[in-house]
């Protein structure tokens, strides 16, 4: 059974169509990268899967269950999203404790204190951060909190929208290592949107290249590493990212 499956998905914002017949499958436990430039519709696909304010036609299913428009609770237990900008995605007036406790509260899960502490440890944050506010944390620490929040409900699938592009290189390395470790430990499926091909090379098993709302190539990450992507646009992207021409 595939973890995420899209079949001929057209997504639109109002009257504007953003993606055209997007189809791909992500196997359970796989890490899948979605790359392309801004406006190519890659984030929109994540938002559609998560049910965030888009209308779409076609079929999306997550862990074998077909998705409907909008958000529902059972879906939220299985699939969570991490956003790009840790400065924007955490509530500035909630402590880390409140931020991490909220999903548990919504789903009526008890033993919150222990779960929060365990999760802070899992993402490599000291216990003393628990009662701090986001502005007291650095960018990398905030992104750790955002990842912790997404994992509070012990989901199977994580949607990552440019999780490291707002961070410094050295901090990016820490977050990438963290994501890789968490995926192994909790057997997660990743669907990651990024424009950074080396990050895909580090973290993903397969990737899809998008352009103008269409998926133009789905390839194994080995092809990316060896610079053997087929589509001319993919190759252009590869070279613009500093890949050596083959």
């Amino acid at each position: 059974m595939s973890a995420i499956s899209l079949d001929n998905v057209d997504i639109s914002y109002g009257d504007t169509k953003v993606t055209f017949g997007a189809s791909f499958d992500v196997a359970a436990g796989e890490s899948f990268g979605l790359v392309g430039e801004s406006g190519s519709g890659k984030s929109t696909i994540l938002r559609a899967i998560a049910g965030l304010g888009t209308t779409w036609t076609g079929a999306i299913s997550v862990l074998g269950k077909p998705r409907r428009q909008g958000i529902d609770k059972t879906f939220a237990r299985q699939c969570q999203m991490v956003f790009q900008d840790p400065y924007g995605s955490l509530h500035p007036r909630k402590t880390i404790d409140a931020t991490l406790g909220e999903p548990l509260q919504v789903h009526g899960i008890g033993n919150r204190g222990n779960r929060i502490e365990a999760m802070l440890e899992a993402v490599g944050l000291d216990r003393r951060f628990r009662f701090r506010y986001p502005h007291q944390l650095s960018g990398g620490q905030r992104q750790r909190v955002a990842i912790a929040r997404a994992l509070m409900l012990e989901p199977k699938v994580l949607l990552l929208d440019e999780p490291t592009s707002a961070l410094d290189v050295s901090v990016q390395a820490e977050i990438l290592n963290l994501l890789k470790r968490l995926r192994q430990e909790q057997n997660l499926t990743f669907l990651m949107v990024t424009h950074n091909l080396p990050v895909v090379s580090f973290l993903c098993d397969r990737l899809a290249v998008m352009r103008h709302g269409r998926i133009i190539e789905v390839a194994d990450v080995g092809l990316l590493k060896s610079g053997k992507l087929v589509d001319p646009y993919s190759r252009e992207l590869y070279q613009a990212s500093g890949g050596k021409s083959s």
């Binding site: 430039e37 801004s38 960018g139 410094d168 290189v169 050295s170 901090v171 990016q172 390395a173 820490e174 990438l176 290592n177 890789k180 470790r181 424009h195 950074n196 091909l197 080396p198 990050v199 090379s201 580090f202 990316l224 590493k225 060896s226 610079g227 252009e236 992207l237 590869y238 613009a240 990212s241 500093g242 890949g243 050596k244």
Partner: protein
């Protein structure tokens, strides 16, 4: 190389906090000739502050001091505000990070480019329009007459950044300071914008200071690189020899970057204790 365009010695920038003044740039020195100098470092390393202090754009309560801050024989620190205005834009100009926030949203592109010329030269209006048009063409905007009538929200990010470069280069300055000129742009557009900037800077024989957090990018577009960490220059090297950098911070940064053909299981993380103790 002739006499340097810019000489900086012991530049310090400080800001007051509740714990007393904190120095964000701690005594850096460098010179710039007609060459391309890259300044790299992570957020908070003081690289942008260095760029801004050259143009004296740091306002009170921030304080800039230097033993020497000279631009082609002019002591920048001794200039009055009025004299500085004659230098900013005309002789040293700066490309900012994000075109969305740095272009004036209520002025057309044409008016903004022309403004740079109107402020610094006395040219007839037709000449100004002609130069603006040529400049837009130079940054490879195909239909300059149409674009000149547009407002910043009507153009894309890459185009916005090219407009900003046009705006900064049209008065033909001697030095261009580009502070993260492409970090708000897509990779594919990034290369295009930098190529254009590079070509113009080289053809006009200007000095370029490219400030960025991206080591690869700086290595590709500069002749010389300064690596900054917490307000100090920790390493200076020739761009082509960046891979042989010696300082642990530079080495750490290089190692922390994932490669296109990544095979490492985990990425090495910077061990900051190594040099912060010294």
């Amino acid at each position: 190389m002739s006499a340097p365009l810019l000489e900086i010695e012991n530049l310090r920038v400080s800001f007051p906090t509740q714990q007393g003044r904190v120095e964000v740039v701690k005594g850096i020195s460098f010179t710039l000739g007609r060459e391309r100098l890259g300044i790299v470092g992570e957020s908070g390393s003081g690289k942008s502050m260095t760029g801004r202090s050259i143009l004296r754009l740091i306002r009170a309560p921030g304080r800039v001091t230097a033993d020497r801050l000279r631009f082609s024989g002019i002591d920048l620190l001794a200039q009055s505000e009025r004299q500085m205005r004659a230098i900013r834009g005309a002789r040293i100009s700066m490309v900012m990070q994000d075109p969305k926030f740095s272009l004036n949203p209520v002025m057309t592109i044409g008016a903004q480019i022309a403004e740079a010329l109107v402020a610094h030269t006395r040219l007839p209006r037709r000449e100004i329009a002609q130069r603006s048009r040529d400049m837009l063409q130079a940054v490879r905007i195909d239909d300059p007459d149409r674009v000149m009538r547009l407002y910043p929200h009507e153009i894309s990010g890459g185009m916005g950044q090219r407009v900003m470069i046009a705006m900064m280069l049209v008065p033909e300055p001697d030095i261009l300071i580009a502070d993260e000129p492409t970090s708000a742009l897509d990779v594919s557009v990034q290369a295009q914008v930098l190529d254009i900037m590079d070509e113009l800077v080289r053809n006009k024989g200007m000095g370029l200071i490219l400030i960025s957090h991206d080591l690869d990018l700086v290595a590709r577009y500069c002749d010389r690189i300064l690596v900054m960490n917490s307000g100090k220059v920790v390493e200076e090297c020739v761009a082509s020899q960046l891979s042989e950098a010696r300082h642990p911070y530079t080495r750490g940064l290089l190692a922390a970057m994932p490669h296109m053909d990544e095979t490492r299981e985990t990425l090495p993380v910077l061990d900051r204790s190594q040099w912060e103790a010294t």
